[in-house]
Amino acid sequence: MTSLHSPLAHVELPEAHAHAGVTLREDKFRGHLNLRGNPQDEAFTSAAEKVLGVALPTAPNSAVENDAVRVYWLCPNEWLLLVAEGAEGQTEADLRAAMEGQHIAVTDLSSGQTLINLSGENLPEVMMKSTVYDCHESNFPVGKAVQTTFAKAGATIYKCADGSYDLVIRRSFADYIFLWLKDACAEYGLAVQ
């Protein structure tokens, strides 16, 4: 018996649809770390860059990534780091070591949230059903990351290079969001991978 259950491990899959207008995939068990610190403090930013291999993004609603990590700007002194499953412990330890003595916070949220990817030709309409944020390409280009509402819950939404969206959602709302998506996608067909 595995000791791990992802937030969407229990969901009942919708009935198979000949044509799936939307596909949902849970990228489960990723490492999620919340990082706080002062972006004006060069010691902090350089320590972060040294550990992560990329500079912390400082532009609002932006994100950067390399092979090991994706870093979301959440607010002027807050970032979300997404790393591979199991890498969160080492990353946290490395950050703490590199930032010794600084006013920072590193908090492991790996079990508190999950990442779901949404793709498919009917996705634009499903996004219009689900979020008040304007997801038109002119307002939401690839690489942008936005914290906003999703149905009656919240989500951090990232536009991927392939046009799909990565949503970071809270564990306790995952079931609700899945029910919402199942309903919103019913007319197009929802595939769950």
Binding site: M128, T131, N139
Partner: protein, 999 residues
């Protein structure tokens, strides 16, 4: 008798596609492209309903949103829809419609006779005068009025259809797809802007679809079709026909209702039946057009009296002439075109009755050339007939239109088309607070100044020519798009002769004595009624509206308001500009509740938050309770148990062995930074300066008014790192509270807060055997009572998983809370259940948790407190730090005279005198149950349970001066007449010395 009024050719209906429908149970035929109204008129149906107050017969009057009479009941059973306007219902095969009012039916109406008598007893101010007193009779009156007047019936069954919503964003939102709107959308679309064009009708074009004009040499309807096709082909333009923009809200936010499948049948074949578009636009172009104004003359509500422009629309767009002999009464040139259209259709125009003494111009010439009688300086002063018009009484009037100057003559007719000028559709512009302004040039209200990024085009600001509307639309569309207009439109000679404002047609008798002259058909408001209201002293137009009910209902004064205001102005000797207008609020036309609810219904009404162990709870038969948005196990009944049986079993398991509750829903906030300790000192009543790593402390949080706001246990991870718990329902509020103080007041304190509520799953098990259970799973922590004390926490390995173990207790028993990352929460729960099996470990829910804590006198913030109790009121002065340097939040309020009183309501224990009694929660406490009502109330019961382990009921509650009344009896009178009694006691009913949780 099929389609007696249908023309052989012409119009936009498809005569090769006949459709069958029923009206009041009888079958009729119409065509694809008809509205229900046009099909009814084609079949010669005159009476469509009965009026609200006087129960007078009413017929179809308009052709769109302005229709006030033809409210229908569509369909039957669960699919039934009350009150759509027949003029806005597209005909489909099998449509069933019936009158919403009229009893027993709209043709023969008993209530008409009641109305004739009752009308005298229902003058203006009827509601105020009759129904305000006695208040309790309102329900009786209301039932009677509704039954008599109708207004349709909603289905009592669930609606089989679904409704949804889309959030839309655009650069330019164009409301209305008549000439101005189409031209505006074309310019903005061609400029590459994101455009949304919405129109309430099934096809774009508005007045162009019923026009015989040409646009740049092309027939108007053809031009509209081409424009619609061009827009539909643009990727950057969203076309929304059958979509009514019903509300215009702040900062260019608009609500629009799209009827997606209403025209296909009563139920949507797939997808949503209706959809609300929530639109945020950078720029808005309002091209909502104008509504024709009726003329107020005696019996002007008889079936057969119709708006002139509507008659023309029926003729030209639907191929239906709603009468054989028409009298057209007009104050302006637009009636002439209608007369010409009726004439061209081969029906008789008895006369054009023009109130103007000296009209001239191309339309007058055309009418005379067609051989139509034109009576200038005349008016229809009264319509005659029983259930429909049979005659028009026509008389000469003076040039000012104030009085009849000669003998009336009777003209035999079955249709009176009235053209009283035009009222711009200013409704949407009013929604954001802009007041309409009177414009003397066009004798109408136009939108006033607005702070919205809003542009106006066409008839909405009195541009009534087609070319003018097109060119203005193009200009405004370009302006909204930040571009140059690229089109210029010409529609030939559209010159007109000036109109005559005419708000009340004179009669040979005075207003008060003439037959009823209706201003507002839907609410049965007459010129005499308004005059009476004015005579009674109602001068403000808002008061006149409320006193007479003018502009109420689904109609919202679309046709009647201007006439009513003008009549008021004249009665008061003021100008219309001085009298002003009422303003319009959303919705422009009614919106179904289904659409407003969208998909936020059933399971999606509100998010249900689940813990990691939720699947286990479901599998093991838990019943759930909502705590905030969380679904928490309430209790776990076994077969054959009553709820009380279950609670007794769960409680005794904890008291005698061990039980476990899922405590994952408690809010958890991770606090890091060197000033974390100082911050805690400031927000909690007690001191955290000396809380050592490995230790926990209970804390009470207050608002600045000194009242209890939240509570919870905070653990010290290390000197710069703490984890705070909050109540399940208060987590978000506490997080915001901490952030607010950190961000706005004490930014100098180096501390960060992160919500970790969802990250940690918490298995809380307690009872005398709790240690034995933990010992089976954990071997790297010394669990002995001396090494791992009450209010300690340890990091350890439980069932192979790294965990934080807190030795804290909400039950009064030896207890541990094992916290693990939530991905491992379900596994941990199962492991502890398995380890506890030999001790009979029993899962318990929130109800047992409440009983156990109440036996110990522990409060639940939000249940026992309500924002009006200080720590002292709760008997918790022990947790208030007396020596803390910083004046923590709320402290200063303790010494306010009201807070410092010693006879405030106190939270005390209540022990029922009859031990078998459980006093209902919410019961009010009184000192003397025999005091006459209203009694002096001392407080109320906040928590009350049966305590199985104590063998009697227990309760907590507030009692005024309770701490000084220990041992005294208070009474709780019940609604059923019983009076329950309780002794005021300490709230700690169980293990008062607190020995058990220290073991």
């Amino acid at each position: 008798m099929s389609q007696v009024n249908r023309l052989q050719q012409g119009g936009r209906v498809d005569r090769s596609k006949p459709l069958t429908f029923t009206w009041n149970g009888k079958q009729f035929q119409g065509y694809q492209g008809d509205t229900l109204a046009s099909a009814m008129l084609a079949n010669g149906i005159k009476v469509v309903g009965r009026s609200f107050k006087y129960s007078r017969p009413r017929g179809i009057f308009g052709h769109g949103a302005e229709e006030a009479n033809a409210l229908m009941q569509l369909g039957v059973g669960k699919e039934t829809i009350p009150n759509p306007r027949a003029t806005q219902v597209e005909l489909f095969n099998g449509l069933e419609a019936s009158a919403t009012n009229g009893w027993p039916n709209s043709d023969f109406d008993l209530m008409e006779w009641v109305g004739k008598i009752g009308g005298k007893m229902m003058p203006p101010g009827f509601y105020y005068k009759t129904f305000m007193w006695p208040e309790k009779m309102w329900m009786t009156y209301e039932k009677f009025i509704r039954k008599a007047a109708g207004y349709g019936k909603a289905s009592l069954e669930a609606d089989p259809d679904i409704y949804d919503k889309l959030n839309r964003h655009c650069d330019v939102m164009v409301v209305g797809a008549g000439p101005a709107g189409l031209a505006a959308a074309l310019e903005a679309g061609r400029a590459g802007k994101r455009v949304i064009l919405a129109d309430e009708q099934n096809e774009f074009g508005g007045s162009l679809l019923a026009s015989k004009q040409s646009v740049n040499g092309q027939p108007a309807a053809e031009w509209a079709e081409a424009a619609a096709a061009e827009l539909a082909a643009m990727d950057n333009v969203v076309c929304l026909p059958r979509t009514t923009v019903f509300g215009y809200y702040d900062q260019n936010f608009l609500g629009a209702l799209e009827r997606r499948t209403d025209h296909e049948g009563m139920t949507a074949p797939s997808g949503s039946r209706q959809r609300i578009h929530r639109i945020r636009a950078h720029q808005v172009v309002l091209a909502t057009g104008a509504i024709e104004r009726p003329l107020v003359f005696a019996n002007n509500d008889l079936p057969g009296v119709m708006l002139s422009g509507s008659v023309a629309t029926y003729v030209n767009r639907f191929g239906v002439v709603p009468g054989n002999r028409a009298v057209v009464m007009t104050t302006n040139d637009s009636g002439y075109q209608t007369a010409l259209d009726i004439h061209a259709a081969g029906r008789t125009v008895v006369a054009i009755v023009d109130t103007r003494h000296n009209p001239e111009g191309r339309l007058l010439d055309a009418a005379r050339a067609a051989g139509i009688t034109v009576k200038t300086g005349h008016a229809v002063i009264e319509a005659k007939g029983g259930k429909q018009v049979t005659d028009a009484l026509v008389a000469p009037i003076d040039a000012a239109g104030d009085s009849v100057t000669g003998k009336p003559v009777s003209m035999s007719c079955d249709l009176i088309a009235v053209a009283g000028g035009w009222s711009p559709v200013v409704h949407l512009s009013c929604h954001t607070g802009s007041r309409p302004q009177w414009n003397d040039d066009i004798a109408a209200f136009v939108p006033g100044p607005s702070i919205q990024k809003q542009h106006l085009a066409g008839a909405i600001i009195g541009e009534y020519t087609t070319a003018g509307a097109l060119n203005m639309g193009a200009a405004m569309g370009a302006e909204a798009a930040g571009a140059e207009a690229g089109s210029n439109y010409d529609c030939g000679d559209e010159s007109v002769c000036p109109a005559q404002p005419m708000y009340l047609v004179p009669h040979t008798k005075s207003v008060m004595r003439a037959p009823k002259q209706f201003v507002d058909f839907q609410n049965d408001v007459t010129a005499a009624g308004i005059t009476l209201a004015n005579n009674e002293g109602f001068e403000s137009i808002e008061h006149v509206k409320r006193y007479t009910a003018m502009g109420f209902g689904t109609d919202q004064g679309k046709t009647g308001n201007i006439n009513g205001m003008a009549i008021t102005a004249k009665n008061l000797g003021k100008t219309i500009a001085e009298t002003g207008t009422t303003i319009f609020r959303p919705a422009y036309t009614p919106v179904t509740f289904g659409a407003l609810g969208g998909r936020d219904i059933g399971d999606l009404l509100d998010p249900a938050r689940h813990t990691a162990m939720h699947p286990w709870h479901v599998e093991n038969g838990a019943l759930f309770e909502n705590v905030g948005q969380w679904k928490r196990p309430w209790y776990y009944p076994k077969a054959g148990e009553t709820m009380q049986d279950t609670l007794n079993r769960e409680c005794m398991a904890v008291r005698n062995s061990v039980g476990m509750v899922d405590a994952s829903t408690l809010g958890k906030i991770d606090i890091q930074g060197k000033d974390a300790r100082e911050f805690l000192n400031r927000v909690y009543t007690n001191a955290f300066s000396k809380l050592a790593p490995g230790k926990c402390r209970y804390g009470l949080m207050l608002k600045e008014d000194g009242m209890v706001f939240d509570d919870g246990v905070t653990a010290c991870i290390n000197d710069n790192h703490f984890v705070m718990t909050t109540t399940s329902g208060g987590a978000a509020a506490v997080m915001s509270w901490l952030e607010m103080w950190s961000q706005t007041e004490w930014p100098e304190l180096e501390v960060y807060f992160t919500s970790v509520t969802d990250h940690w799953a918490t298995c809380s098990f307690s009872g005398p055997n709790a240690r034995k259970v933990l010992a089976k799973l954990c071997d790297d922590v010394d669990l002995s009572a001396d090494a791992f004390k009450f209010m300690d926490w340890r990091e350890g390995t439980v069932a192979g998983i790294k965990a934080r173990i807190f030795r804290i207790s909400f039950t009064g028993e030896l207890a541990y809370e094992v916290n693990v990352p939530a991905n491992q929460g379900l596994y941990m729960w199962q492991k502890i259940m398995a380890a506890g099996e030999e001790f009979g470990i029993t899962p318990y829910g929130t109800e047992t948790m409440h009983v156990l804590r109440a036996e110990k006198g522990y409060i639940i913030v939000g249940q026992d407190t309500d924002g009006s109790l200080t720590p002292q009121d709760c008997g918790m002065d022990w947790i208030v730090g007396k020596k803390k340097e910083f004046s923590f939040l709320g402290k200063r309020s303790f010494t306010r005279p009201d807070t410092a009183r010693t006879d405030r309501k106190h939270l005390v224990g209540l022990k029922p005198i009859d031990p078998t009694v459980v006093i209902p929660e919410g019961s009010q406490a009184v000192a003397d149950p025999n005091q006459p009502i209203p009694m002096d109330m001392l407080g109320h019961v906040t928590s009350s349970y049966w305590s199985e382990c104590l063998g009697h009921g227990i309760a907590m509650g507030t009692v005024k001066n309770g701490f000084n009344m220990m041992g005294e009896t208070v009474y709780f009178p019940q609604a059923d007449g019983r009076v329950l009694a309780a002794e005021i006691v300490s709230p700690v009913f169980y293990d008062a010395k607190g020995e058990r949780h220290h073991d």
